[in-house]
């Protein structure tokens, strides 16, 4: 068989399978001109009038290929729409080829302008050795408000199938009509068929009804998808479809995941090693410990202290060590080299557990940045993330030994609190991964503040963080040197405290995840309390000054989700200036967020009236409740506005008698 280049084969494939572009241009008629304003959303900059998307999987030569055909017709309504939609970029690269690009502009008066060659610019984005990443850029000529632009192209991806493809039904602008056509692979020897799930909308079951081999359906009037802060995972909200190839054994979800859990365990178990070196290391790390939990935690600490992630920039691995790194074939190699990939580290931890007589299991789940794991959707692609669970009595302890800055028993917030498949040779289970309680992710802040008569102040400050609050910060600073951290944090505090002078910055326990991450420093603030002619107004909530309300917007489209449950504890001692006394001080009010949390404050003065002690505690996310339906938004906003109001509580000082 003669050799042909992948590109040539791809082009031949397109020519043979799609002699003309599969979709003709839609007619240009009065309906285009009649649409003077957006139809679906009145403030849309543009709307997609028609979007045709085709997917075809092919087996040709000795390889798989997937062909995507796209056609879009977009009407532009605003100047911003002109800027955003008058160019289209179509990237291609190794094993991705783009062809059959055609485009045209339809002016408001109905005139059609077909694009010339010079309106489609091809450029190399990057060339690495012989690999080229290119883009074709379509510049539509004569675009103004009221113009329709349309384009179509084919994309061929070599040595791939469309398995685990996510097809969005919503874009950043509304869509009037979307037609999706899918032609699954049809080869006799393949036992996997194409399956699909639709999310947040209903679509008909995929069925090929004619000789074309395509299964098609049409959707109408799709709203745009717009992101908001504190939002549920995007793919939990967006309308989209997953297509994938899997053998359809007609199982129930329970049986499907059990079977999958057994397969996962089988493959996982084969990779574990319990040789002499592994047993010795395990014995040494767990010496004197008896319970499963203690042993597992000790082994976790041992792996963290002794095995480094070769690709993590925060791990302290040097470029030289990275260059010398040899691929680990087994966990024993990783143990010897003391360096490995994330997967290597997970396997060595599991091997140590097994060597210590524990029962480690690989777990599968989802990522809260993508979507929650819902077993009803029987697709392996819905559970892409992995961790290690270790049996402790009748429950499971979860570990992620390869991600940075996680204390024993802690997972990344993205993997907390969601259903998780624990693999097993006999009885895989779906359990809920644990979540840190608010008391385990604490921001504890102390300030000793001396206020001068003119409203300026000096303060000694200590900030302390645990759990996710600590981890977020550690991830930001772990690559920096100590001097850089001090410099950056000093600048950050200067901005935070309105241009104050910051000195004596110390940062402790950056590397020790089992101790609070702590910052201590001194402040000299030119303005803290507000001085008028007769009075001095003091905001005791020192750490909340200048912090805006959390939810400034009045309307909300999507449900609200916080990343994790948390707690804030502030203790402020205020030394009041001589010659002034408190004028009928009152304390801020406390309230609860129902069962989800509470806001508590205490304000006490010393007998001589020169000292005020203020304590503030905010707890949110009890019982793992960190997600709220969109209907709850007004209440949630009101609650956080109330926090803001109480944080801005002020006491008045006046001249002493």
């Amino acid at each position: 068989m003669s050799y042909s280049s992948p590109v040539a084969t791809a082009l031949a494939l397109i020519v043979s399978l799609t002699p003309l572009f599969a979709v003709d241009w839609l007619p240009v008629d009065a309906s285009l001109r009649a649409l003077q304003v957006p139809k679906i959303e009145s403030d849309a900059d543009a709307e997609v009038l028609y979007w045709d998307f085709r997917v075809k999987d092919v087996f040709q030569g000795q390889d798989f290929w997937v062909v995507y055909d796209t056609y879009r017709r977009i009407k532009i309504f605003t100047d911003k729409g002109v800027k955003e939609y008058s160019t289209v970029e179509l990237p291609s690269g190794p094993r991705i080829s783009v062809s059959d690009v055609s485009a045209r502009t339809i002016k408001p008066d109905g005139t059609i302008v077909e694009l010339k060659k010079e309106d489609i610019v091809e450029r190399d984005i990057v060339k690495v050795g012989r690999k080229k990443y290119r883009a074709r850029v379509i510049n539509f000529p004569g675009v103004e408000k009221g113009t329709v632009v349309e384009y179509r192209f084919s994309e061929v991806r070599m040595r791939q199938l469309s398995t685990n493809l996510r097809i969005p039904f919503q874009l950043e602008i509304p869509v009037h009509r979307l037609k999706v056509s899918i032609k699954p692979l049809q080869v006799d020897w393949m036992r996997y068929g194409m399956r699909s799930y639709a999310f947040n909308t209903k679509v008909p079951a995929l069925a090929v009804t004619d000789n074309s081999g395509y299964a098609s359906f049409t959707l109408e009037d799709r709203k745009s998808f717009r992101r908001e802060p504190f939002m549920a995972p995007e793919y939990q909200l967006r309308e989209w479809m997953l297509i994938f190839y899997e053998e359809d054994k007609k199982l129930t979800p329970d049986k499907f995941w059990k079977e999958y859990g057994k397969d996962v365990y089988r493959e996982f178990r084969v990779e574990l090693k319990t040789d002499g070196a592994m047993k010795q290391a395990a014995a040494s790390a767990t010496e004197g410990l008896t319970t499963e939990a203690d042993k597992a935690n000790a082994l976790y600490r041992w792996v963290r202290a002794n095995i480094r992630n070769v690709y993590s920039l925060g791990s302290g691995v040097t470029a030289e060590q990275r260059q010398k790194f040899k691929e680990n074939k087994t966990p024993s190699d990783t143990l010897k080299q003391k360096l490995g990939t994330a997967n290597d580290i997970a396997l060595v931890f599991a091997s140590l557990c097994l060597s210590a007589g524990l029962e480690p299991r690989l777990t599968k789940s989802s990522d809260r940045g993508f979507r929650f794991f819902e077993p009803a959707y029987m697709a392996r692609a819905m559970a892409p993330t992995e961790n290690i669970a270790v049996r402790a009595g009748t429950s499971w302890l979860f570990f992620d030994p390869s991600s940075d800055h996680l204390a024993p028993g802690m997972l990344s917030w993205r993997e907390e609190g969601i259903r998780t498949l624990v693999s097993d040779p006999k009885e895989p289970q779906i359990v809920e991964a644990p979540m840190l309680k608010p008391e385990q992710s604490v921001a504890s802040r102390r300030a000793d503040v001396t206020i001068a008569e003119d409203g300026s102040a000096t303060a000694k400050v200590v900030l302390s963080y645990t759990g996710h609050q600590a981890r977020e910060r550690r991830l930001q600073i772990d690559e920096d040197t100590e001097a850089e951290r001090i410099q950056n944090e000093t600048e950050e505090m200067q901005k935070r405290f309105g241009g104050a002078e910051v000195s004596g910055m110390k940062i402790e326990n950056v590397a020790d995840v089992e101790k609070p991450l702590t910052y201590s420093f001194q402040l000299k603030m030119p303005v803290y309390a507000t001085r008028t002619g007769k009075r001095l107004f003091v905001q005791p909530a020192f750490f909340q000054a200048q912090i805006p309300a959390r939810f400034p917007e009045n309307k909300r489209t999507h449900p609200i989700f916080f990343n994790y449950a948390w707690q804030e504890i502030d203790e402020v001692t205020l030394h009041l200036p001589e010659g002034l006394e408190l004028d009928q001080p009152t304390a801020p009010e406390a309230f609860t967020f129902g069962p989800v949390g509470e806001y508590k404050t205490e304000l006490r003065k010393s007998n001589d009236g020169h000292l005020l002690a203020y304590r503030r505690e905010l707890i949110f996310g009890r019982d793992g409740v960190i997600g709220f339906a969109v209907d709850s938004y007004p209440l949630l906003k009101r609650a956080f506005d109330a926090v803001y109001q109480q944080d801005n509580h002020t006491v008045t000082l006046k001249a002493a008698k």
Partner: protein, 646 residues
Amino acid sequence: MRRPWLVAFAFTYSLSGAADEAPGWLKELTSVAIPSQGPKVPAYVLWNEQAITVEPTGRKVIARRFAVKILNAEGRRYGQAVEGFLVGSSRVRDLRAWAISPSGQVKTYGKDAVIERGMVTDDFYSDVRVRQIFGAVDPGSTFGFESTVEDSSVFLQAAFGFHYGIPVHCSRFSVTLPPGWQLQATVLNQDKLEPTVEGATQTWEMRKLEFYDDEPASPGLGKYGVRIAVSFLPPEGTSAGRVVRDWVDVSRWMSELGDPAATPEPSVVAKATQLTSGLMNERERLQALATYAQSIRYVSIQRDLGRGGGYQPHPAKDVLAKSYGDCKDKSVLMRSMAQSLGFTTYGVSAFSGDRDAVRPQWASPYQFNHAIMAIRVADSTDAPSVMNVPKLGRLLFFDPTDPYTSFGNLPIYEQGSFVLIEAGDQGQLVQLPLAPPSANLVERTIALKVLPDGGMAADVTEKSQGYAASRERARLKQAATDQYRKGVERWVARSVPGSTITKMEPEDSATAFTLRLGVTASMYGKLMQNRLLVFRPTAVMRGGVSPFTEPKRTHPIVLNPDAFTELTTVSLPEGFTVDELPDAVTVKTAFGEFRSTYEAKDGTLLVRRSLEVKAATLPPESYREVKSFYDQVQGHEQAPVVLLKR
């Protein structure tokens, strides 16, 4: 049977088994003693050398050597070798790099490590490309590279910057000319720098250059860093490239390229006539053309740069037909339309982004990266961007690429910069006018009603002109409608938390941008002990925290012209009297003035504030005064009014 491929393989294998070796010049540099640097300094340049050899044909061979010591994690980004070239007129003949680890281990980067890519710019396509090697370096490593570039581009000029922003141990630039050639060298940002001469080679060198610590409102490196700019002058009668001796030379060349493209063709004439139909006033007619030129979409496709293609606009009729083009295309379209109505126009070369970048001492098209235009106007047409130019008359300067700056104004970063008017033999370099503060005025009127429980309702009208209007226009046009609204909500919520916007009406006209808002809030004032009502009469803050937070200053301070006036009429709640008002304030300095007055009468409080800042570049010694000025302005936004319940 002989197996020569097996022998070759073994030979190659034994070579690759040998240790990497860095060149002698780089190894020597690893022993340079680096003075102690603060944590802000990411890297230290050990060697920065460029040597240009000009061949008799005018082709330039440019050899570079560069070495840097990485000091911290942030410095890793300096561990790369980058060489740019222009497709069709230059090429990177050679690029090699080495990384020496703290332990002395050497890693060599050859052809396999080279990435080629387009330069990251706003262009959709550009002939400018780079070849790059990324070194895997850690703090303590030394990274160095050598390169050779052959350049046959049209101009016989070059420039070299000695400064790098980070500290430099040694920066060196040399030129070797063929016999009979002469060199014209200009030192920028320093009075003198004498070369050493050895045969046909002249060398300039600077050592121990300090770290440039960026501070807010500083001049750019263009004003600070020492540069040398050279022109190569071949013997008379030699056609080795384009010779540039003075600004008239540049003007002539640019006019040759640009003027023909501005010739009005019938389609352009028709368009200009249609746009100005019914308009008699000169300003209104030009405004109509300007609005259209600004609406043409910006698309930059840069080809043939090495032969001056980057300076040549497309014919105006083509720009009109396509409705897109780059800065010179939009300028040429505006010129052509204006010319078709009988106006005299000129192309103008400018630098966008740093008003101090263009130095009058060195005549070169290389100093410009942007095209605008100028129109001769009558005395009756007045605007901040009008100035009298000797021999050319009263010219109004306009930048059609900026969609947010209205006709008659210039983007703030172009004001005060040097530009070249392309007028053939009469072309000249001029300094564009800096608009006075009053041309950038923000006028705000607020009618505010305070309720007895601390709530409020307010109508806010804010009218912006000049640069201030450009900023507002950009906010409106760059955001989707709901995002713009959310931005306004966030802005108001900064000073009035928990507020609701009941009305939002932006209005954009040729000369001003007006925003009308209705605001209500329940948490505006604080009612304390049920007898004191405290509120801030500054209902809407404009700026954020003053940028001048550091106690000390190294660089000059650049202030842009700024002005605002505000009148707030506060209806006080029934049953309360005014117990305390902030003191009236006047802060007057050479560069700016801030005033604030309060007047309470018959249940109404009148608060007047005004700020005016002149354009100025102040020495670092003035920093304390500048900081104090802005601290006082900011402090006054927080000053409260105290009402007492009767």
